[in-house]
Every structure is written in structure tokens, then in C-alpha cells.
Assembly symmetry: C2
Homo-oligomer: 216 residues x 2
């Protein structure tokens, strides 16, 4: 089949794929995944339906997973923060970027994390879990911890989950409180959870006395 | 169709339904939902396959949702705690019962919360969300708060999500730390999160100065 109308300009295969994923992500940001068809993507991208099918022969599910992978990659870049300067502002800057990401992907972010979506599969769950693990690894690296013990790991993973919950509520409540206030609040919660764990765990106690001492 | 073999003793319709759900929940506790068939339930319950189908004509998905509803009801009962005596021990006792529940439902609890399961639907998600809301309502009631503001609500919901994350890690790590230690740790985290929020929110500040003052 030949596309009904040629695209405005010739894109390389990689550029086209990336354009289609961007368009798909912008649709997922405003509609639940179930309501985004390949036709919608074709229309929004100004390309023919067969072209979209050529890139995503597996249909909607393939498109969704590819878009999710692309978003996950973007999210991992949010975590990239130079290991320089005080620790808590580093965490704050990563959270700033994270909240911009959440705001941009809006409905798509919420649908993914809220579960119960027909496009949710063991693949999508694995992508989300991989991103959570990456976030935790970044935190250990910034804290200067090579081998996080079970208490530190549990604390960090609980905080990451709590941050996700906060993001969903934040979207639901028209992004209140303002992003910078939410960011500071989340950083304070991180410190509070680590401080509580320090009472039960030598590794966390050492972090509070050492790496974080100057900032508390 | 007539059952191949009569059950050992005659149960009322309600008793039989409840027996089948108990058996199903005990299977879901050790296997992922995808691997539990109505045949397995019939075999484990010592009843005929047609009998199980008579109770759950919608098949596996109907059985799963009914079992989940039954477990959700059981979990709500864990939250029931007399409104007497110091607040933090009340929270501790509810958490004790919750951790017994988590341990008993083990794999089924994990599969449900981890997402990506083929039996997860908007129905199952609604049941889980309803249970989370019930947990939050119990907490507001014990705190003596009629109208929780947005900060308190976000704090309580973040803590509930963090508790779920901790339960999953706990199951994954052969239930370490021991339940009573985990319970105390989670109570301390609750206080720490509320204390952090108190710095930003008059309602939480009042709770720390008032209802919780004697216990901190």
C-alpha cells in the first residue's frame, strides 16, 4: 500500500519513529491508552495510516510499549545529576525534572501507574519496575553507598513509591501544591524517613552523621 | 448437570460459596492468579467441577474478583480498632493485623499489587482503591479529623502506599525484618511524615501539638 498523502518532509526511519512516538505520547497525555488508536496517531502526525502500521505492525499494544519505553528513557535522563555539591539540592533538582515529566505526560503517567488498564502487561510492568530500580540506584550512588543494606533499600523504595503516589494525587488535584513546594516537601520526607531508619540501622545512621550531616 | 460426586456434607449456598472462596484464596496465596483454574479450586475443595462453575458461571475472572472482594472485606476488618487509648498503639495493632493478612495471602497479595496480571481489570483496581480509601478514612477518624485538608490527605495516602511497598518487599525478603519490628518502624515513619507536613500545614501541626502530643 502507498501512503495516501506524502509526509511534508522526508524523515529518516529513526526520525519518523521518534516523531510517531512523540505524537503518541502527546495523545496518551490527554486520553486513556484504550482511547488512542493508530488512526489517531496517523491523523495527529499528519501521515497515512499504513505508514504508522509499517512502524508498529504489532498494532496498538506495540505502539504503547514503544511509547512507554521512550518515556522511561526520558525519565531516566531526569535522574541524571552531576555528583557535585550538597546532596539535598541534587535530589531537589532531580525531583524538579521528574515533576516536569509527570506534568507533561499527565493522563498517560496516571493510567500507567494506576493499573487496571487493558494495555498493562507484564512487559509494561517490567519497564516501570526497571525505572524504579534505576531511580533507587541513582540515590545509592549519590549517597556514596556501594552496598545498600536491606533497611536502606526498603526506605529508599518506600520513598520512591510515596513520591509516585504524591505525583498521582498532584495531577488529580490540579497540581497543588505548586511544584517547588511539593519538591521541597518530598525532600524533607526523604530526610525524615532516613532519620527514622537511622534509629534502627547503622548504615542509615552513618549517612545521617556523615554524607548528610552538613545539610541537616 | 449433576455433580460427579456429592460433597461430604451439605452446605448452605452461602457456606459453600464462602468455602470455595477460602479455597481459592489459599491457592492464590501460593500461585500467581493466572495459574489457578476452576478445576484446581474444585480439586482442592473436594467438590465437582460443575459445582464450582455453578457458583462462578463467569469462570476464572468471576472467581478471582469474588475472592478479591472477600479478601478486601477481611482486610477492612483488620482496620477496625476501638477508638480508645493512645493513638500510636492503635495504629500498631491495626498494622499487626494487616501484616498477618499480608503473610496469609502472600503471592496473591503481591500479584494484585504488583500489576501486570491478566486478571487485573478496572474492577479489581476499584476494589483495591476502595480498600485504600477505607484505610485512610479510619486514620482520619482515629486522629479525630472530620475534614482532612489536602496536605494531611496527601501525607496519609503516601504513607499507605509506602506501607504497601514495604509489605511487598517484606514478602520478597522472607519477611525480614520480623513483623513487630516492621510494625514499629512503620508507625515511626507515620509520625515522621506527619511531623514534616506539620511544618507546612496548620492541620497537621495541630495534630502533632494536640492528639499526638502526649505520645511523642
Amino acid at each position: 500500500m502507498t501512503p495516501a498523502a506524502p509526509a511534508y518532509r522526508r524523515l529518516s526511519v529513526e526520525e519518523r519513529r521518534s516523531q510517531l512516538l512523540d505524537v503518541a505520547l502527546s495523545l496518551f497525555a490527554i486520553r486513556v491508552p484504550e482511547d488512542v488508536s493508530l488512526d489517531d496517531v496517523a491523523e495527529a502526525a499528519g501521515v497515512s495510516r499504513p505508514l504508522v502500521y509499517r512502524y508498529f505492525p504489532g498494532g496498538k499494544q506495540q505502539l504503547y510499549e514503544a511509547a512507554l519505553r521512550s518515556a522511561a528513557e526520558e525519565l531516566r535522563q531526569c535522574f541524571d545529576e552531576p555528583r557535585e555539591g550538597p546532596l539535598l539540592p541534587r535530589l531537589g533538582r532531580a525531583l524538579d525534572r521528574y515533576l516536569v515529566f509527570v506534568r507533561r505526560h499527565d493522563a498517560g503517567f496516571a493510567a500507567l501507574l494506576q493499573g487496571g488498564s487493558v494495555v498493562e502487561t507484564s512487559h509494561t510492568t517490567a519497564i516501570v519496575d526497571g525505572t524504579r530500580r534505576a531511580a533507587a540506584e541513582h540515590i545509592y550512588a549519590h549517597l556514596g553507598v556501594d552496598e545498600p543494606g536491606p533497611r536502606l533499600r526498603m526506605t529508599v523504595r518506600m520513598w520512591i513509591t510515596a513520591v509516585e503516589a504524591a505525583s498521582l494525587i498532584w495531577l488529580d488535584e490540579d497540581r497543588q501544591p505548586p511544584a517547588d513546594e511539593l519538591r521541597d516537601w518530598l525532600v524533607e520526607q526523604f530526610v525524615a524517613l532516613l532519620t527514622v531508619t537511622a534509629g534502627r540501622d547503622p548504615q542509615c545512621a552513618e549517612l545521617i552523621r556523615g554524607a548528610l550531616a552538613a545539610e541537616l
